[in-house]
């Protein structure tokens, strides 16, 4: 019986990793597409602040192109952490969405610290025996408690908005509501477990430590309060499993939306690397049926694009 939460957690983590990698690989293997950038492009070193691009320079192809990784980080980090675009363009939703997302980040951070502490305890227990160990435990307590509270508050706010705003409600599916309810229940159970059974996250930290050290032993307290810690661990594991199977995988998609599309301004220079890939696209067949194309599966893009209509 004591193995069940461990098995659920291992399966969930495995599916999460596989699903995220699968999505990443699937999207990165998509064929080259035409440029469809949108300004401001954050890596334009000296021009990003007003939305300018290298296309403002005459004969830009003869000049060195400056791509600023720092510029991208200056946009992406605040965007990921604080949802800057949402704050600017939809503040009513941001006051709900920001605590939800930031709460998740804190809980993830809490879990990472638990994992690190567990590994340290196994490898060098003397390191966490003293004050440093106490510090880690306080960090875990702070991140976990605040993170869960924020995530629950945010999820409840998002649910309320989705149910009461006519525009959001019209576009909301059953799954959209289920996703939020799932978050509320899973984090609600975990928060209740913290309040009732596990006030210093000692049980949870021990469970995570056992997970990372592959030591699936029974833990005292996991059956307390009608198995609340066990139920919480199982629900949070299922949530981890579920997220990458839904459109909540936008944390992967956003990378492509920005780096592969919105900020993808890499020019195709004559004789450069891109030409071979483009030529590969132009020999692909097309089957579009309209009379001005008449794609029959043997006609290639290059054939269709060079048809002469002037005769």
């Amino acid at each position: 019986m004591q193995l069940v939460p461990y098995i659920v957690a291992y399966v969930a983590i495995a599916i999460f990793i596989v699903a995220v990698i699968a999505r990443f690989v699937m999207w990165s293997k998509m064929p080259l597409h035409v440029r469809w950038e949108l300004y401001p492009v954050a890596h334009e070193a000296k021009k990003a602040h007003y939305g300018g691009s290298y296309l403002e320079e005459s004969e830009w192809w003869n000049k060195p192109r400056e791509v600023s990784l720092l510029g991208e980080l200056k946009v992406m980090i605040p965007e990921i952490l604080f949802l800057v675009a949402l704050k600017e363009h939809n503040p009513k939703l941001w006051i709900r969405s920001f605590p939800f997302h930031f709460g998740l980040y804190l809980v993830i951070g809490c879990t990472v610290v638990m994992m690190g502490t567990g590994l340290l305890a196994a490898i060098a227990p003397e390191l966490i025996a003293g004050g440093f160990g106490d510090l880690l435990r306080y960090v875990i307590l702070g991140l976990g408690a605040v993170g869960m509270a924020l995530a629950i508050f945010g999820a409840l706010g998002l649910l309320q908005r989705r149910l009461t705003d006519p525009a959001l409600r019209d576009a909301t599916s059953g799954a959209d509501l289920f996703n939020l309810v799932f978050f509320i229940i899973a984090f609600g159970c975990a928060f209740a477990s913290f309040l009732i059974v596990d006030r210093d996250f000692a049980i949870t930290a021990a469970f995570v430590a056992n997970l990372v050290t592959f030591n699936p032993v029974a833990l005292p307290g996991m059956d307390a309060a009608f198995y609340l810690p066990t139920i919480s661990a199982a629900l949070l594991s299922l949530l981890v499993l579920y997220i990458p199977l839904t459109h909540m995988s936008h944390f992967v998609g956003k990378y492509f939306a920005y780096h592969a599309i919105r900020w993808n301004d890499a020019p195709n220079l004559k004789g450069g690397d891109q030409e071979e890939a483009i030529n590969g696209m132009l020999v692909r067949p097309l089957t579009w049926s309209a009379s001005h194309i008449k794609g029959d599966g043997t006609k290639r893009w290059a054939d269709a694009a060079t048809e002469d209509f002037s005769k």
């Binding site: 469809w36 949108l38 300004y39 525009a167 030529n279």
Partner: protein, 533 residues
């Protein structure tokens, strides 16, 4: 008429789903804040209502209402076939990844709605939300192509009305991508509007007549969407040279087909027809600066337009190739795009992933070229000749979608007194579309032009009026809207005309090079003659 509608309503009922009335819209700023100065959109004719698919009491496509069940089924099946092809690597490599990203990740938060000028100017009618058409196509795709659960993705009925109205709805978006700019996740609902247009055109043979038959097809058949062939273009440009010579006092000759020139100049041929002073000004400036340049009389190369960019990837590729082939034939070092936003984006950015080898000839905007001329000091400018208020319009294709923001402003500062230069709010990459984007500027069937002025062009007119709010609003105090894009100029001309804003309030419009030539010390004063054309 139903005021507020739901996504599922697109499959239901007959006739228009909504009708925008004057009461729905926010009043324009002074001096147009009285109802008598802001006439309502006239209703669609009964005949048009009877014959064509009608979404919102206007018609863009003249899509006939199916007469038999077989025709209804055909419409649905063709659409599904096209939708499936949109997700095929072979058929849609051009946009597959952007399409999938936008189909998969929308959080349906509606953040994009407030960025859309059409939605806001409609009085926040849900039909014009950027997400409305996207949500319809997402639901169709998941339910009828992927056979996925409607509980997950939302439900929708699919019948001929769903398809026909959705296609018509794809022509209620300027594809300015302002909505995409605000999306926290990077979803691009404007792209989805274009993908719906693509399905309609590439699979079903449905497109706006002005854009396809009279636009891209005419260009491919005759050489220009204006209908001009090589001989007519050369004759017209000779006339322009004569007129410009007379107006400026500078002998002007536009070179044609000069092999080995540095620059192939590509104008929107609409300029030659409607605003001949614009290509004439380029000739004056390029000649005065001593540039090595030429125009081409080769097939389609005297018209830089590429309407495919609005609706059809194949038509797009065909035109881009013709432009590149003409440049290759002349052996020029680069192609420079004139004041035409969509031609800029088409050949510089999108065709970047189409042209390879000898056809991969460098292409650039006229803006940095013009700025180089200013900086070179080869031409002397007298700012005082442009001593009138000038407000700059940012064409979406050139600014938000290419990042060309600064050169035109630097040029303005060199040829217009700084205290006379005004900015719209917002401007730069956050600008609003003129209202003519994605082909609307040339679409005027039935009451569509009225709808366009009230819905898509209204925000730009509002911005123009606000920009000039501290200026005397009469014709004795002319004010200049500088729109360095043919399409935008056409739309701004139409809306100034619609509200009689030149006659009543002295609001005039034109391009950037006209201001430059007007300020040239060597040019006879008064090049800008304030005559409405």
């Amino acid at each position: 008429m139903k005021r507020s509608i739901s996504i599922k309503d697109i499959s239901k009922g007959t006739g228009p789903l909504i009708q925008i009335t004057a009461e729905d819209q926010i009043p324009l700023p002074p001096p147009y804040d009285k109802p008598e100065f802001d006439p309502p959109i006239p209703p669609l004719s009964d005949k048009a209502r009877e014959n064509f698919v009608c979404l919102d009491d206007t018609v863009a496509l003249n899509l006939p209402i199916p007469k038999t069940e077989k025709e209804e089924e055909q419409l649905v099946n063709q659409f599904l076939s096209g939708l499936e092809k949109c997700f095929s690597e072979d058929n849609n490599w051009t946009f597959l990844q952007p399409l999938v990203m936008s189909m998969e990740h929308c959080a349906k938060c509606q953040t994009c709605s407030d960025a859309c000028h059409i939605y806001e100017e409609s009085g926040n009618n849900p039909l014009y939300r950027p997400t409305f058409r996207s949500e319809v196509i997402r639901r169709i795709y998941h339910k009828y192509i992927k056979k996925a659960s409607t509980w997950v993705h939302g439900d929708i009925d699919l019948n001929w009305k769903t398809v026909a109205r959705l296609i018509e709805l794809s022509y209620r978006c300027n594809v300015c991508r302002r909505c995409a700019q605000t999306c926290p996740i990077g979803v691009d609902n404007a792209l989805l509007a274009r993908e719906i247009r693509k399905i309609a055109s590439q699979e079903m043979g449905i497109a706006a007549k002005e854009i396809h038959d009279d636009g891209s097809m005419l260009q491919l058949k005759v050489g220009s969407s204006t209908g001009m062939n090589k001989r007519v273009v050369i004759d017209n440009v000779e006339f322009i040279d004569e007129d410009i010579t007379e107006m400026t006092g500078i002998e002007t000759k536009t070179p044609f087909d000069v092999e080995g020139a540095d620059i192939l100049m590509l104008h929107n041929a609409g300029e030659i027809m409607a605003w001949p002073e614009n290509p004439g000004c380029f000739a004056v400036l390029f000649n005065a600066a001593g540039l090595s340049w030429t125009m081409s009389s080769d097939f389609a190369a005297y018209d830089g337009i590429n309407y495919g960019v609005w609706y059809d990837d194949v038509q797009f590729a065909r035109t881009a190739l013709l432009h590149a082939q003409a440049a290759q034939k002349l052996g020029v070092k680069k192609i420079v795009l004139g004041e035409c936003g969509h031609a800029h984006k088409a050949l510089t950015v999108i065709a970047d992933k189409v042209l390879t080898g000898d056809l991969n000839i460098p292409r650039e905007s006229c803006m940095p070229v013009l700025l180089d001329i200013v900086k070179s000091g080869k031409i002397k400018f007298d700012k005082s000749r442009n001593d009138f208020p000038v407000v700059l319009h940012d064409p979406c294709n050139m600014v938000r979608l290419m990042g060309i923001v600064s050169p035109q402003r630097e040029i303005l500062k060199a040829v217009v007194p700084e205290h006379r230069i005004l900015e719209m709010a917002p401007h730069g990459v956050e600008n609003y579309c003129c209202g003519g984007g994605s082909g609307f500027a040339i679409m005027s069937g039935h009451n569509f032009a009225d709808w366009r002025h009230h819905m898509t062009g209204r925000r730009k007119f509002r911005q123009i009026l606000n920009a000039f709010q501290n200026e005397p609003m009469d014709q004795d105090h002319p004010k200049y809207v500088c729109a360095p894009c043919s399409n935008c100029k056409g739309q701004i001309r139409d809306i100034i005309n619609y509200y009689d804003a030149w006659e009543k309030h002295g609001i005039y419009y034109g391009g950037l090079v006209e201001l430059m030539v007007n300020a040239m010390v060597d040019v006879k004063p008064g090049f800008i003659d304030w005559e409405w054309r």
